[in-house]
């Protein structure tokens, strides 16, 4: 068996070069025994093989490395032919065979259930840069042809205008960029959300911030719905802030064509909390586990299955290092003084 397509439960956090940031993090969570939908990864080895065929002389990549990231039209012109080539070229037989074998095997003897096809770039989700939303995800993919198309689209998204600008602005070398693609069994989500293991607005490390809305998580990360938001104290476990929003839209699977539909939330559901207090408590516990394991704040995506096959139906879809607050150096807020009351004397002496 080659390392072109490998199962998620065989990889871990040290395998970023092979399976990308997302793949490595999902594999690590499987190892930790956390609830992750089963899946596999088309590795960067496969990606490099394809890219080597298309860009044998490295003409495309050299052109891209030379453009001005402020010149969006220039970036577009430099990247479009490469994307075109990646999305149209037939898959090498070894990769296709590996992909389809895993696809068919994922669900045992049954007809394969819908899958999510998710980009997993090597630089993505690094500790110092989020690449938030720059690469493709395809949800509710239901047949082998679509699966292959989505795989190639994910590869191509490494060369989207946004992704290339982002790398150029941050001086990330083009040859360091590679794309693995994760394929996972799709969670048909009743509710989905995002969770930061520190406050995204203040950096507070004593709280977990959770956002939640109806349906699939793509509506939240895309900003198309204003989600319910909750702040939980890691110390006391209490929900210290709770804001239930009017959730007007949700993303649901397109059962006819595949993919995702954006639809109105039925009026009687809009103002109803999209997550229960028990689920919040469970998320808080998962947040503690993840943060303790990685030793740093995490940015987590999660979903609750509409019809849980077993357990509470809660799944983790991603965990990556939080980037914005991590970059800020923490000056000590206070230092001990000769006498305890000197803290008060000093504060009162300020104008």
């Amino acid at each position: 068996m080659s390392d072109l397509v490998i199962s998620l439960d065989t990889v871990g956090r040290d395998d970023v070069a092979l399976v990308g940031g997302k793949g490595a993090s999902l594999g690590e969570m499987v190892r930790l025994g956390l609830p992750v939908p089963p899946g596999y990864v088309v590795t960067t080895t496969a990606f490099r093989e394809v890219l080597a065929e298309i860009d044998a002389e490295r003409r495309f990549t050299a052109t891209i490395a030379g453009v001005d990231p402020q010149d969006h039209r220039g970036v577009e012109m430099a990247t479009a032919p490469l994307r075109e080539a990646i999305t149209t070229r037939p898959l090498p037989p070894a990769i296709e065979a590996g992909l389809l074998e895993h696809y068919r095997r994922l669900d045992g003897d049954h007809t394969p259930r819908p899958v999510a096809v998710r980009s997993s770039a090597t630089g993505e989700d690094a500790a110092d840069a989020s690449f938030a939303g720059l690469q493709d995800t395809h949800l509710w993919v239901r047949d082998e042809t679509s699966l292959v198309d989505c795989l190639r689209a994910c590869w191509a998204s490494l060369f989207s205008v946004e992704a290339v600008c982002y790398r150029l602005q941050r001086h990330i070398a083009e040859e360091d960029a590679a794309m693995a693609v994760v394929v996972q069994q799709m969670v048909e989500a009743r509710s989905s959300g995002v969770m930061f293991t520190r406050s995204p607005s203040t950096g507070d490390r004593s709280v977990v911030a959770i956002e939640s809305a109806w349906g699939l998580g793509s509506a939240i990360v895309g900003g198309e719905v204003t989600p319910d938001s909750f702040t939980l104290s890691k110390v006391t476990g209490e929900v210290v802030r709770r804001r239930i929003s009017d959730k007007l839209r949700r993303h649901v699977p397109d059962r006819v064509g595949g993919g995702v539909l954006d639809e109105e939330v039925p009026p009687d559901l809009r103002a109803v909390p999209s997550v229960s207090d028990e689920e919040l408590a469970r998320l808080l516990s998962l947040a503690r586990t993840l943060e303790a394991h990685y030793g740093r704040a995490q940015d987590v995506e999660w979903a609750v299955a509409a019809d849980p096959a077993s357990g509470d139906g809660l799944y983790l879809l991603q965990s990556r290092p939080e980037t914005a607050w991590a970059k800020q150096s923490a000056e000590p807020i206070a230092a001990p003084k000769a006498r305890a009351f000197d803290h008060v004397i000093e504060a009162m002496g300020r104008a």
Binding site: Y166, V207, V225, T226, S245, T323, A335, A340
Partner: protein, 604 residues
Amino acid sequence: MSEHRAPFPLPSEIADAPGAEQWASMYAPFSRFQPEDDAKFWFYNATHYPEPVPAFDGLSAEVAYSAIGANTARIFVFPATLGIEYRIVNGRVYLAANPVTDPAEIGRRLEIFQRRAGYYYEHWDRLYAEWKQRMQAVIDELEAIEVPELGEFDEEEVVTSGRGFATNHLVRERYHRVIDLYSIVWNHHIEFVMLAFGAYVVFSEFVTAAFPEIPEQTVARMVAGIDVIMYRPDEELKRLARLAVELGVDDLLTDDSEPTTVFAQVAERGDAGTAWLAEWEKSSIPWFHVSTGDGMYHHHRSWRDDPRVPLAGLSRYVERVRAGEDLRRPTERLKEEREEVANRYRALLSSDQERAAFDQMLGLCRTTFPYIEEHKFFCEHWFVTQFFAKIREFGKLLVRFGVLEDAEDVFQLQHHEVEQQLANVMLAWAAGSAPVGTDAVKALVAERKAMLEVLATWPAPPALGPVPEALNDPAVKLLWGITSDTIRTWVEAADSSSAQVQGLAASPGVVEGVARVLMSVNEIDQIEGGEILVCPVTSPSWGPVFGKIKAAVSDSGGMMSHAAIVAREYGMPAVVGTGSATRRIKTGDRLRVDGDRGLVVILS
């Protein structure tokens, strides 16, 4: 900055509440607003005076602010504040701070302050133990004061002891003493309060800087005492509930009967009833001297004076005892929880330096906070309810001599007017005549009662006068929790006509700039560098423009949408989830985007 219309009226612009034009007759002349007061910023002390102040109760403001300012300005010499000034308008108490702002002057005061405050902090336990004894002595003295009966003839003893003065003299002397003790208690009340609040606020600000989203209750929970005496009245009720069930008198303790009926029925239950009543009496002194209010108004009675409140609580506790509940507070567990919470926050701090500072500040708070929790029982509850009860007894004397119709009416007179009417009684008793001018007194009482009802409906503005650049008076902050931020909130509420859009604070920072409203990503080319992007949804595809805009505002989206994450990465203010930004803002509008508070103000 754009020009601000004055959000609050000036003191001189406040008209007398219609129907209560004579309100000023109820209060001391020095509590009235003066023309020069228009230059100052005043805030309504809704914390302590949520309702119009009856004439007698105005003394509480006079005595309290005399004590507070003396403590901060003259005794401890707080560096950055003198005292508090108060004024009354339409029955409401307004306050102004007198901060010290000259750095040289602050430095001069600091030198004295650190010596004096340091002495109290260093000897806190001893001084606080002595304080309790002093308070107890003052309360004992107050309770021992008898309002003279003024019978037909003075006692024989006046002659045989060679006292040489008649009992009517004692009416005024004892009235003076009651008033003087009230002043002493307010001095003792403030004695430790500023220092204890200071320690708490310093700890709270440190913890809040480290953990900006910690609820204030959780900060307090790390500091709070477990066995403090303010829990005691309630604990006594629980004890009496258990005892009632044990003795079999619990069926009589119902919520809906009058206290006198309840006590009479219990008394008829033989030994069990007598035993329970003896225990009630034992609990009630001192614990049922707890006030049903906050101690600033005469009508806040103690449980002992008005047992309806404790009896209502008692009947609920009886039900829970019957249901088999153990009502005792689990003090050991509460102590452990308190330690656990403190230890967890301590562990989350980022350095050992911070942990050492945390230990110092928390330690100081745990020494000083019991005062914050306990002083109220001695001052506002026990002493003050007894003080007003004593004044009520003077009221009874005035009723007996026909000056008032009801002892309660004594509180419709200012304290010096009460003294005047006591002199009226003293003269009448001496002359063998009737007090003079009692109809006028009764008419005044009636007028003032009617005015108080009118004044209760007057909508008191939260503040008066010009908004200060900054309000950082430590006394105002420590005692009322009012800072520049509070005032900003009031201004916004008062100034609701100003166009603003509220959303979620997705990425911190405040900037001003020109709006560019884009309804779709296809219009992205229109945006100019330095503009503020206003759009329905900030999807990831907007990413490339984030390098050149100043701020982003969206109709939908949460804190963790990609747009919010990227805005934070670029260090650019963003407000998301406004619901209506693209409808209310036009391209070209000048905006202020406040990413700290999730607010977008349309400036022009």
